[in-house]
Amino acid sequence: MIVAFYVLVLPFAMANRSAAQTSESVYAITGAKIFILAGDPIDNGTLIIRDGKIAAVGVGIPVPAGAHVIDAKGLQVYPGLFDPVTQMGLSEIAAVSATVDDSELGSFNPNVVASEAILPSSEHILVTRAAGITEVLAAPASGGFDARSKPEILGGQASAIHLAGWTISDMLIKKSAAMVVGWPQMQTRPADSPKGAKSFADAKQEYDKQVQELSDWIERARHYALALNRGSSADYQPDLKLEALVPVTRGELPLLIFASREREIRAAVNFCDARKLKMILAGGAESYKVKDLLRSKNIPVILLPTLTEPSNEDDPYDRLLTQPSELAAAGVKFAFGSFDNSFSRRLGQQAANAVSHGLPYDVALKAVTEYPAEIFGLGDQLGTLESGKVANVIVTDGDPLELTTNVKFLFIKGQLTSTDNKQKSLYERYLNRPKAR
């Protein structure tokens, strides 16, 4: 009876683009195979959601009185997926600069914060969550989508957000989750043109200068932190950039360092190691060459999409497809990232393609849920289905990494959330277009 009621009500509930908070926020998902990720999957399990949190999960758990019941027999339940590098809400249409707010001018902007410019009604948010992605990191991407601007070195602070909410405060998981760094590249020629080629000596000189600048910023921030500790605010001139770097110098805020090549990755690791800074590697096309170093220093990686051409012409054709399995075997912790908005929904596909090239399936699943949460220090809130955690939950008709799987129900912060979006409504509108004469 409750189910029937639910089926009637659901379309109305779903019509809301973001589910409003209601007082009746108790849900029971019953009869499903539940992939809790904190242990083996539970057959015929029940998951209770109350007040935005997972209240209980297991077999034979009684359904609370008054709960909305979702009969999920034949369906599967997973934690929502977490895309750990996007420009969600910061960029709408890549080629229209007026809609792009993902990178500031200048090379050192540690004080800019993604969440201050995230558009909660971005169409990307709705399209992405329809693919079962419930939270993302929105990063001020140094250099932007297209490298039109000169790559930044300190890009700003990335924010972890839920993909639902009327305002940014509804959405915010962690305002400052990482400090984005574009590691300087030693380039003897620009990527897209033989013009402007320079000698190795010149390229190295420029590279060294940039790394030194970054080092200087960190050093100045340390001194600033000392001043902060000692005096009252009247005793020193405030500097918002240095202030933003203070948590970095204390090892509280990780640097999310974008680097691809072995040489750059090694340099970045040594840089952070020498200064006792917390580092997360982003991109990491050549992580496989430094896997032992990454493991020994305990540095996690947000991997660039597996569906990317190998960097070198003579690389094996499946170079980036096999990398995840090599990292996993070496004990390096990693998560899959889309590094994009419009391709964020390919996150599961990226992971599946690593599975077909040797990565154990359970690792792949964790690398789009549990691991990204852990990497950003959110493992106590997100990433698995355990009681007490935030109820970001998806109910699917199959493997969430597979292309043809549908997300049947989507919960974000314990709220049943619509999977409608611009694309679905355009589809429905034109599906019903009267036949043209």
Binding site: A94, E123, G143, D192, F258, L307, G348, L401
Partner: protein, 495 residues
């Protein structure tokens, strides 16, 4: 190609001298296998595309053609036998929009009617993307000029015969094509490296440019017709009309001897080109990308125009903001002949996965989804008598997957073109240590002579391929990842 710098030519010559394409695979087991004139694929799940699925089947290949398809076939003496137990065989994937195997840039962007340029003249058989796409199951590609111009260059259909010289790549007898482009790219919107503008700068101007070119072509055609008639009647000493290499391909379009493949996004520009085509009496063979095709699907179907689209790309520019992943399915349901293409060498390596998305978005059947990358593009390119399905008499262009190709977990095991194994995953894996050794050896050799080769060290390496839209729309490529220096990002493909 006058813009090609001297050093590039030099480098090409050097490379050609050092590594002639034919010698690459000489004496390898792969070569021997390729040379077998008879191959038997046994115990496979055969996705024929035109005649359903054979749960346990065998395919006999003779002289590059499919000779027999049956539940079980006795292996002829000397035949190479491929045991495909538990594996899936499907027709080779046909990519209706590719920019691989092009030497240098893909756009002759200096003029808005650049029909003189011909991709067939600049095929590069050494492009590693040929091999990578083969490893993704692609056997045939429609290789197109870029989209900088209202009327772009001539196009060519190739088979991915990796290791063969450029002259052996074109698909024999396939109708040549010509690239048109509508919307943001030809009107030069996305150029932001300066105030350089050229005509056309609006969609109105794009329409007018195409009309103007066809008006000229029709007149040119009539001049030649009149001349030929007089010659046929016995007139002598006539001065023939002056040849116009720019208009000749357009006359071929008017005469149905060359296909039009039109890059487009928005509904209005699709209908615009259909009106122009009607006015001049030619057909648009395919609309490419055609991300708003679903809005005018009935009109596309009525005009008999094909549509070749992306699976789920959107929002990289304003004309892609209404793109929907249901596009392929919705157009299919409205009677349009639809294919899913790559436009990008990397995307081409998983077109099977991209086609599968039309099952989720719009509810195509397994068979319909498979057609999007096999029979449908074959029909769009007019080569469906030769390829696109597994039928007796057709070319033995086949892919073997370890599981259902419409799964994200499927991996290509072997790719055959003309009944020869051009990609073999096991052989590729086995050969990697050899390549590593060879590379090491070459590096050592280079190190030894390094002091003498000082000037050479500063010679910049040419970029492998150019984005289709470059330089006019730099930055609209969804695969340009921030801060990640990859070849894919540098290549930036082509929207």
């Amino acid at each position: 190609m006058s813009a090609v710098p001297g050093w590039m030519v030099l480098l090409a010559l050097l490379l050609a001298a050092v590594a002639p394409a034919e010698s690459r695979a000489a004496d390898s087991p792969e070569t021997k296998k390729r040379e077998s004139s008879e191959i038997l694929i046994q115990n496979a799940i055969v996705l024929t595309v035109t005649h359903g699925t054979i749960e346990h089947g065998s395919i006999l290949i003779q002289d590059g053609k499919i000779a027999q398809i049956d539940a079980s076939i006795k292996a002829p003496k000397d035949a190479l036998v491929i045991d495909a137990s538990g594996q899936y065989v499907m027709p080779g994937i046909i990519d209706c929009h590719s920019h691989i195997a092009i030497d240098g840039k893909v756009n002759e962007s200096s003029i808005s009617v650049s029909s003189i340029a011909n991709i067939a003249d600049v095929l590069d058989s050494d492009d590693i993307d040929i091999y990578r796409d083969l490893a993704g199951g692609v056997t045939t590609a429609n290789v197109l000029h870029g989209s900088a111009n209202s009327i772009g260059g001539q196009t060519v259909v190739i088979k991915l015969r990796w290791g063969q010289p450029s002259a052996k790549l074109p698909f024999e007898g396939a109708m040549p094509g010509i690239k048109f482009a509508l919307g943001e790219n030809p009107k030069d919107t996305n150029r932001d490296d300066g105030p350089v503008r050229r005509y056309p700068a609006t969609r109105m101007g794009v329409e007018e440019t195409i009309r103007g070119a066809f008006a000229a072509a029709r007149y040119y055609q009539s001049e030649w017709d009149a001349y030929n008639k007089k010659v046929a009647k016995g007139s002598k000493n006539l001065i023939p009309p002056r040849r116009d290499l720019r208009l000749e391909p357009l006359v071929e379009v008017l005469e149905g001897k060359r296909y039009v493949h039109a890059h487009c996004y928005r509904e209005d520009e699709i209908l615009m080109l259909l009106r122009v085509a009607k006015e001049f009496g030619f057909k648009v063979r395919t609309f490419q990308h055609v991300l708003e095709g679903y809005k005018v699907a009935d009109e596309l179907a009525a005009a008999g125009a094909g549509a070749s689209t992306f699976s789920d790309w959107w929002s990289y520019k304003i004309e892609a903001y209404d793109a929907i992943p249901y596009n392929a399915a919705l157009m299919t349901r409205r009677g349009v002949l639809v294919s899913v293409n790559s436009d990008d060498a990397e995307e081409a390596t998983h077109l099977n996965q991209e086609a599968a998305k039309s099952i989720k978005f719009g509810g195509l059947s397994h068979g319909e989804a498979l057609k999007l990358i096999t029979l449908n593009p074959a029909m769009q390119l007019g080569i469906d008598k030769r390829v696109g399905s597994i039928e007796v008499g057709k070319d033995a262009d086949l892919v073997i997957y370890d599981r259902d190709p419409l799964s994200a977990y499927a991996v290509v095991q072997k790719t055959l073109v003309d009944g020869q194994v051009y990609f073999d995953r096991q052989a590729d894996l086995a050969n990697r240590p050899n390549l590593e050794r060879e590379k090491k050896m070459l590096l050592e050799k280079e190190k030894k002579k390094a002091p003498a080769a000082k000037p050479a060290a500063t010679v910049p390496k040419p970029a492998d391929t150019e984005p289709e839209d470059s330089p006019d729309s730099r930055g609209v490529s969804p695969k340009n990842l921030p801060l990640i220096e990859t070849q894919a990002a540098a290549n930036g493909a082509a929207r």
